[in-house]
């Protein structure tokens, strides 16, 4: 029974599903750590997903696809930064605006430039030599038979954690998110730091989109993410603004999802509504038990005014 459900492929599926959440979540973490809430993630993901897909489709190169995604992510990220940092727009609303824009544009361009759903070759799964055929506990299948973006996502976690905690940039980001006035008084350019993190957030969101359209799914369709980006934002709160926290959240959420799919696949008689509901419920419950006081960035959503 249990071994019927907790198969290696379920864990492999968990890893795959977690990837977009990790990528988008890491970007959002940097943005929020510097004090900017970016609710537009899902829209940027969709744009990234589309441009990656379209480029891969016409050039046949997934790599070019990723580059295109990074480009569009950067542009949208800078736009977001301009709106929420320079124009100090209410971040809750502007984020939703950007989401709507991305949702609409990606679909529009899809209809104009592609029309009907097509599939691309995208990134193949890379079997890490030696590791990928470890039979023991299905380690090989679970960890070492994924597409490049999966590996990238998981490598970015320790990297992000290091940048945040052990580099001058990370120090500036944390300071700007906690007490921008103090950071400013110490000669840190608050605006520049926030532009950097928000732009990075856009890039990562776009990459997350690409990880769907040209790696995991290899197709594009209107609203391909169906709200995945919002879950990613939620997982940032789950992870308490720490990269490893994001990892934990993304894995938990994706694991429950993979399990519920497996349960219905092997025909266990669980009403599918409740199966689909499970990841959301369990994520909340987990947080109930995990909750100590959180170290939310003090200046989150607060625009910076010098000398106040």
């Amino acid at each position: 029974m249990i071994e019927q459900i907790l198969t290696a492929s379920v864990f492999a599926s968990t890893i795959r599903l977690a990837t977009p959440y990790i990528l988008a979540g890491l970007g959002e973490t940097f943005s929020q750590r510097s004090g900017v809430l970016n609710l537009g993630v899902d829209g940027v993901m969709l744009m990234g997903a589309f441009f990656a897909f379209y480029t891969a489709l016409i050039t046949g190169s997934a790599v070019l696809g990723v580059i295109a995604a990074l480009g569009v992510g950067l542009i949208l990220g800078l736009a977001t930064a301009f709106i929420s940092v320079t124009l100090k727009a209410e971040q809750g609303i502007s984020g939703i605006g950007i989401y709507l824009f991305g949702l609409g544009m990606s679909e529009l361009l899809f209809q104009q430039w592609i029309g009907t759903p097509k599939s691309v070759t995208g990134f193949p799964d890379i079997f890490i030599p030696g590791l990928s055929d470890i039979e023991f506990l299905g380690i090989g299948e679970i960890f070492f038979q994924h597409n490049i973006l999966v590996y990238v996502a998981f490598l970015l976690i320790p990297l992000s954690s290091f940048v945040l905690n052990h580099t001058t940039l990370g120090l500036m980001i944390r300071a700007v998110g906690q007490n921008p006035q103090a950071a400013d008084a110490m000669g840190v350019n608050v605006t520049r730091v926030r532009y950097a993190t928000v732009a990075f957030c856009g890039v990562m969101a776009a990459l997350a989109g690409a990880s769907l359209s040209i790696a995991l799914l290899k197709v594009f369709q209107q609203n391909l993410t169906s709200g995945l980006g919002f879950i990613a934002v939620a997982l940032v709160y789950f992870g308490r603004w720490r990269p490893y926290g994001i990892l934990a959240g993304a894995l938990l959420f994706s694991f429950v999802n993979a399990v519920q799919l497996q349960i219905s696949a092997i025909g266990l008689d669980v009403p599918s509504e409740f199966a689909v509901m499970a990841p959301y419920v369990i994520t909340i419950i987990a947080l109930v038990f995990a909750s100590k006081q959180t170290e939310k960035p003090t200046a989150l959503t607060r625009p910076f005014e010098r000398g106040e």
Partner: protein
């Protein structure tokens, strides 16, 4: 309408390019226009109105404009709107689906598809092609023509080989491609070498089939291009068949009161073999004949797919529509 141009307006919940439900209607109207010619037939189409109230606004405006001979609400969620709207505009003809309920209104057509029929054939053929004896199905919500298709498919499989294991996952969404994809992956992981499914999120599972070199059976629209060499057989909704009947009766002065069902018999359900599927000549011919064979048996009633209660209901004809 005043002039002799036949004007149609339609709303559909998803995009006209969804390779599924909405596209099936859009393709049908486009086809009719090609047949009758631009000067005789024109249509307005509003897609993506998954928000029921948005559809309501469009339908009401079209009805009120008086410019349309037929107003189509392509989505069972629009039934209530039609029920409210039709009595207000008795001179306008409405059609809605998928359902057979005309609410006893003289200016309402209802239409649906006996999806279980194509489902049965897809299932039977799939059963004859599977080597792993495991087949995976990805469905949206366990309702409507999606459920009929899946039920029919299961019966079809069992009809050929009761030992084959059909794995069914309803992901509770018509649009969540990611979930649909992982559901398909789960089926593959559990040994499936053939996949099928219904609704617009099947683009995900199709991509999985292509990737994993599994076979794909489709419904609603042809997904042959996307499924490429994995595609085998598609049940295509030919709404044009019944739309032509409706147009005829409207031009004959009957604005509704009748309901239509796409069946193999009336040609509304068309089984299309994928050209992309790499099959030898004779294999192709064999497949052809088996399909026709099943079709005739279903039409003749020799094969009863689902019990009365679970099958697509018989079309209703109300007395007004009688003569």
């Amino acid at each position: 309408a005043q002039d002799d141009v036949f004007r149609v307006a339609a709303v559909a919940p998803s995009a006209t390019t969804d390779l599924a439900f909405s596209q099936s209607m859009f393709d049908a109207l486009t086809l009719i226009q090609a047949e009758m010619g631009e000067d005789m037939f024109q249509f307005d189409f509003q897609d993506g109105t998954f928000i029921v109230d948005d559809a309501a606004v469009a339908l009401r405006e079209w009805a009120a404009s008086g410019e349309y001979d037929l107003v189509i609400a392509h989505g069972s969620q629009y039934g209530t709107i039609i029920q409210e709207l039709a009595p207000e505009f008795p001179e306008v003809s409405f059609a809605w689906g998928t359902d057979v309920n005309t609410f006893g209104l003289p200016n309402v057509f209802a239409y649906t598809a006996a999806a279980e029929q194509g489902g049965f054939i897809n299932g039977a053929v799939a059963a004859s092609l599977t080597e792993s004896n495991v087949i995976g199905v990805v469905g949206p919500i366990e309702v409507g023509d999606a459920k009929l298709y899946v039920d029919g498919f299961k019966v079809g499989v069992a009809f050929v080989n009761a030992d084959i294991n059909v794995l069914v996952t309803y992901i509770q969404s018509f649009s969540d491609v990611t979930l649909a994809t992982e559901a398909a992956n789960a089926h593959i992981a559990n040994g499936a070498d053939i996949l099928t499914g219904s609704a617009q999120m099947v683009v995900g599972p199709i991509a999985v089939a292509v990737e994993e070199e599994a076979l794909w059976f489709g419904t609603q629209s042809s997904q042959a291009d996307l499924a490429a060499t994995s595609g085998v057989l598609f049940q295509v909704y030919r709404w044009d068949v019944i739309l032509n009947d409706m147009i005829a009766s409207i031009q004959g002065g009957t604005l509704g009161g009748e309901s239509y069902v796409l069946t193999l018999e009336n040609g509304g359900l068309e089984m299309q073999i994928s050209e992309a599927a790499e099959m030898e000549e004779e294999a192709m011919e064999v497949l052809q004949s088996t399909i026709e064979d099943y079709a005739t048996q279903i039409v003749s009633g020799d094969i009863v797919i689902l019990p009365e209660a679970e099958a697509t209901p018989e079309p209703q004809a109300t007395e007004e529509a009688g003569s």
